[in-house]
């Protein structure tokens, strides 16, 4: 998920405040529980099957949307599983298995035709909405139809728009057929069967079937943009109330049948989410135990991170959770002298990745040094390091100079390095890169742009990039889901490059495009994942991307929270579908 929530930078003040009060005992925080540092990465901490109590969550902002047709944040998807069920889902388990898909509403993975263009799912019988009415395959189709309407639901992903054989279909709201189920690309031969017809072969369709857009919506209850006020529940919890920007409360859904759902538990009686909570204060409340979890789950702020790292009693309740998110510097092949591969490789070698890691918070709250695109949690990832950056990852100056010589620029050159103004860590990372490049004679001038327009008007707009010579572009990319296609397609496929708003900032290699196409039609998952690993290696070889950090989020789980573990399928967030408080 590329979009992130803007936060007011109050880190300094918070650290002062915390330092001033460091000695005090923070309520129930710090004591009890059987956690150790990183325990929740591999097993549920404080396992429990006891029901009751209120799970208290908080969000420093608000959801992009809770409507299943209109959401793109990983944490929204994680949270949506509490009230809605989709055809497929990521296993609700700790560790690497969390990145595996498992059927949810469907009885099994999709059955595909030989040409990989038709995908069929059969629904489990007996699944009901919160009001007791049965869930029909048509309702899943209806929500997919809704998600196509980017006018009303602009936020969600566009995979169905791009892959379904739409034949001009735009929206159920323009649909004149009775029942508004006029989309020809999806058949519902009966209430329990749903068949997707694609316009091009796609082997990893089960991941599409995991998207929130496959959450059933009863057409009679649909109120369009207002539906988010009360999404009709199929999961273990249903809406009690939701005031955007303020608060949300979920209560038990008595029509949820655990026998149809091995992936979720229904432990707390109530789930409350406070919205718009000051990020630093949110951390303090986690630590003092008056909140159970930060629903956004991107990790604590700098102030709390410092506190957690320095105090063992807090650290044992924390996890440095790996995510499918990478920090890298895009190297524009369109901007001289980076049209020469050797000049690109000089950057790969010269970068002091340790210094950049430090700028992002160090190993604990920043992440691990990255040497290639696909982080270990992506299925098929191969650990490669095509441009070893010397001892301690401080950059290999000799190698870099060799490459510069090969590029015909033995004394270096001048270029521009961009970063987003509001992102302090990113700017600091750019400064660290600037310094390491200077050691080999590459003088990078840092230019900052507002994050809201970074991709739309500047770094993601090829015309602007060329005209202004933006050679190096600071960038972060998070997978839509942890799998080759969901991670890489938007940043390496040259055919997704548009006039503006790009996320592929210049990877243009026909060989890569060919591999992407090949992966799309490779039904066997192992073979397919291997193709993505080849793509990773090829892009690295082209040196269009200089990865430096596999992001980790430093998460805090108050000792009172039960059954808590990190789900790697959900971008390294705690799995809300299993949490309890008793």
């Amino acid at each position: 998920m590329r979009r992130s929530i803007p936060l007011v930078a109050t880190g300094l003040a918070a650290s002062l405040a915390l330092a001033a009060c460091g000695g005090g005992s923070g309520g129930s925080g710090g004591s009890g529980g059987d956690g150790t540092f990183n325990a929740a990465l591999t097993k549920p901490v404080n396992p429990s099957t006891k029901t009751g109590g209120t799970l208290r969550l908080a969000n420093s902002g608000d959801w992009d949307n809770v409507d299943p047709a209109d959401t793109y944040y990983a944490y929204s998807w994680d949270f949506a599983r509490l009230y809605g069920r989709t055809l497929m889902m990521f296993k609700s388990v700790p560790g690497k298995s969390g990145t595996e898909l498992t059927p949810d509403l469907a009885q099994g993975p999709g059955q595909h035709s030989a040409d990989l263009k038709t995908w069929t799912y059969k629904l489990k019988p007996g699944i009901k909405y919160e009001d007791g009415t049965p869930v029909r395959a048509q309702d899943i189709k209806y929500d997919v139809e809704r998600s196509l309407d980017k006018k009303v639901f602009p936020n969600g992903p566009t995979y169905f728009n791009d892959y379904l054989d739409l034949q001009g279909y735009t929206s159920p709201y323009n649909d004149k057929t009775p029942g508004k189920l006029g989309l020809k690309a999806i058949d519902t031969p009966d209430d329990q069967t749903i068949v997707f017809h694609l316009k091009k072969a796609f082997a990893a369709f089960d991941y599409f079937a995991m998207l929130p857009a496959t959450m059933p919506v009863p057409p009679a209850k649909d109120t369009g943009a207002n539906y988010k006020q009360h999404v009709v529940a199929t999961g273990p919890y249903k809406f009690e109330n939701y005031t955007p920007g303020k608060s949300m409360a979920l209560v038990r859904n008595t029509n949820w049948d655990p026998s149809t759902d091995p992936n979720r538990k229904q432990l707390p009686d109530r789930i409350e989410v406070q919205l718009g909570i000051n990020a630093d204060d949110l951390d303090n409340r986690l630590i003092n135990g008056s909140l159970d979890s930060d629903v956004v789950g991107t990790g604590v702020q700098a102030a709390a991170a410092a506190k957690i790292q320095s105090q063992a009693r807090l650290k044992k309740n924390a996890d440095a959770a790996p995510t499918a998110r990478l920090w890298y510097t895009a190297i524009s092949g369109d901007v001289a002298p980076f049209d020469n591969i050797h000049c690109r490789r000089a950057v790969e070698y010269a970068a002091d990745k340790t210094a950049m890691q430090t700028a992002f918070g160090g190993p604990l709250s920043g992440g691990d040094v990255a040497t290639h695109l696909m982080m270990p949690l992506i299925p098929g990832s191969k650990d490669i390091n095509p441009y070893p950056s010397g001892p301690g990852n401080h950059g290999d100056i000799a190698k870099a100079k060799q490459e510069l010589a090969a590029c015909g620029k033995p004394n270096g050159f001048k270029t521009v390095l961009t970063a987003r103004t509001e992102r302090v860590k990113e700017v600091n990372g750019a400064l660290a890169l600037q310094q390491s490049l200077a050691k080999v004679g590459i003088q990078a001038e840092i230019k900052k742009f507002p994050q809201g327009d970074y991709f739309k008007l500047y770094a993601g707009k090829p015309e602007y990039v060329k005209k202004n010579g933006l050679g190096l572009i600071m960038m972060a990319w998070g997978a839509d889901w942890p799998e080759g296609f969901g991670y890489l397609s938007q940043i390496v496929d040259s055919r997704v490059i548009r006039d503006a708003g790009n996320t592929n900032l210049g990877v243009k290699d026909p060989a890569v495009d060919k591999l992407v196409d090949q992966a799309a039609v490779t039904a066997d998952a192992t073979a397919r994942n291997d193709l993505w690993a080849q793509i990773d290696a090829k892009v690295m070889d082209d040196a269009y991307i200089m990865p430096f950090l596999n992001v980790k989020g430093l998460l805090y789980r108050p000792p009172g929270v039960k059954n808590v573990f990190v789900n790697q399928g959900l971008n390294g967030l705690y799995d809300y579908a299993q949490m309890g408080v008793k």
Binding site: M1, R2, P6, V8, T10, A13, A14, L16, A17, L18, A20, C21, G24, S25, G26, G27, G61, D62, Y72, R146, D149, K150, K151, V152, P154, N155, G156, P157, T158, N161, D162, S171, Y173, D222, T223, G224, A225, N226, P244, G245, K246, Q274, L275, G276, I277, N278, D280, D281, L282, N284, R285, G452, D453, K456, L457, Q490, R498, A500, G501, T503
Partner: protein, 337 residues
């Protein structure tokens, strides 16, 4: 008096119109002038990887493709006669005063503003009472005990209050009074007054005090300076020469004059605060107008930005008007004409 009121009312409305135009220009016109296409603007409101078609549809739905003047006219029209919005299954009518629909949340702006206003009102009113009482008292005592330890201590505190930012004192107060002492366990949330008055007060106690601390510091300095000046006035000497007890001299004569200019500043401060105490609300996670404003700006949610700017401007204009009237009441030298 009546003509004065009518004149001021017309001026206030004119001012609000100008404010709306300027705000509109800043958010809708300036981006275009600086080279962004209407599609660029619309692309802020789509998910990642949205294609040109999706962007175009959003552009049309939000009306961004239309000339700015027409957009402004529709904005004004919405306020006066309401407007219709496309919600998918049906069109929804948004009655006057319709400040449009959120670009991000697709909820009407006006009810949200009405929903947020009581939070800011609660914060501002409570803090105002505290800071006026403490600030003025501290200022008067400092002035009367000029040069003594009391004066120096209270002015030292006031200096700290003026120079420490709210997000520092706010988080510090939360750490001490909520987390360590556990006095206000629900600080950092908001409970409506009508929901539970006790919870309301205990949730707001720290924000009140934190905000009041900053303002009280300003008012203490202001009052002290004013009081010192007033105490040197000839009419204070006259009051003493009449044989008035010192307390009467201070309260009836000195304080009355000192507080008249303080009242003006108080009115302006209150007006600005009612438009949204941005820092206090963000620090204490209070869903008031200030938080609303900052969130809306961060999200580029233009209708909300416009709405909250208008409300803020309204409060400032209103408080100005009230201050002018009050001033004329308390100071006979000012004529309402």
């Amino acid at each position: 008096m009546v003509t004065f009121l009518i004149r001021r009312l017309i001026a206030a409305i004119a001012l609000l119109i100008i404010v709306s135009m300027v705000t509109f220009a800043i958010f809708f016109l300036v981006p275009r002038l600086t080279g962004a296409t209407t599609a660029d603007l619309a692309s802020r409101y789509v998910g990642k990887s949205a294609g040109p078609q999706a962007i175009h549809e959003v552009e049309v739905r939000l009306g961004l493709n239309r000339p700015v003047a027409i957009q402004y006219w529709n904005f004004v029209k919405g306020i006066i006669i309401g407007a219709h919005y496309d919600f998918g299954p049906s069109k929804v009518y948004c009655g006057p005063p319709c400040f449009g629909y959120s670009f991000i949340n697709q909820t009407p702006v006006w009810p949200d503003l009405l929903d947020r206003a009581p939070v800011t009102l609660s914060l501002a009113a409570g803090a105002a009472i505290i800071w006026v009482i403490f600030g003025v008292t501290a200022g008067v005592i400092s002035a009367l005990k000029r040069g003594t330890a009391i004066d120096r201590v209270s002015m030292g505190i006031a200096l700290a209050g003026v120079s420490l930012p709210i997000f520092f004192t706010g988080l510090l107060s939360l750490a001490i009074f909520r987390d360590n002492l556990n006095w206000f366990p629900n600080a950092g949330t908001y409970v409506g007054l009508t929901q539970n008055p006790l919870q309301w007060a205990s949730a707001l106690a720290l924000p009140w005090v934190t905000l009041a601390f900053l303002q009280a510091a300003l008012y203490a300095r202001l009052t002290r300076a004013g009081m010192l000046e007033t105490m040197g006035e000839d009419y204070i000497r006259t009051a003493r020469a009449k044989g008035l007890p010192e307390r009467t001299v201070i309260v009836r004569h000195a304080l009355r004059s000192t507080l008249t200019p303080v009242l003006t500043i108080f009115g302006l401060d209150l007006g600005i605060l009612l438009g949204g105490a941005v820092l206090t609300e963000s620090t204490f996670s209070l869903p008031g107008l200030g938080k609303f404003a900052i969130d809306s700006i961060n999200n580029n949610d233009l209708p909300r930005v416009l709405g909250v700017v208008m409300v803020g401007a309204f409060f400032i204009v209103l408080c100005n008007l009230v201050v002018d009237i009050l001033y004329a009441v308390v100071d006979p030298r000012v004529r309402l004409s």
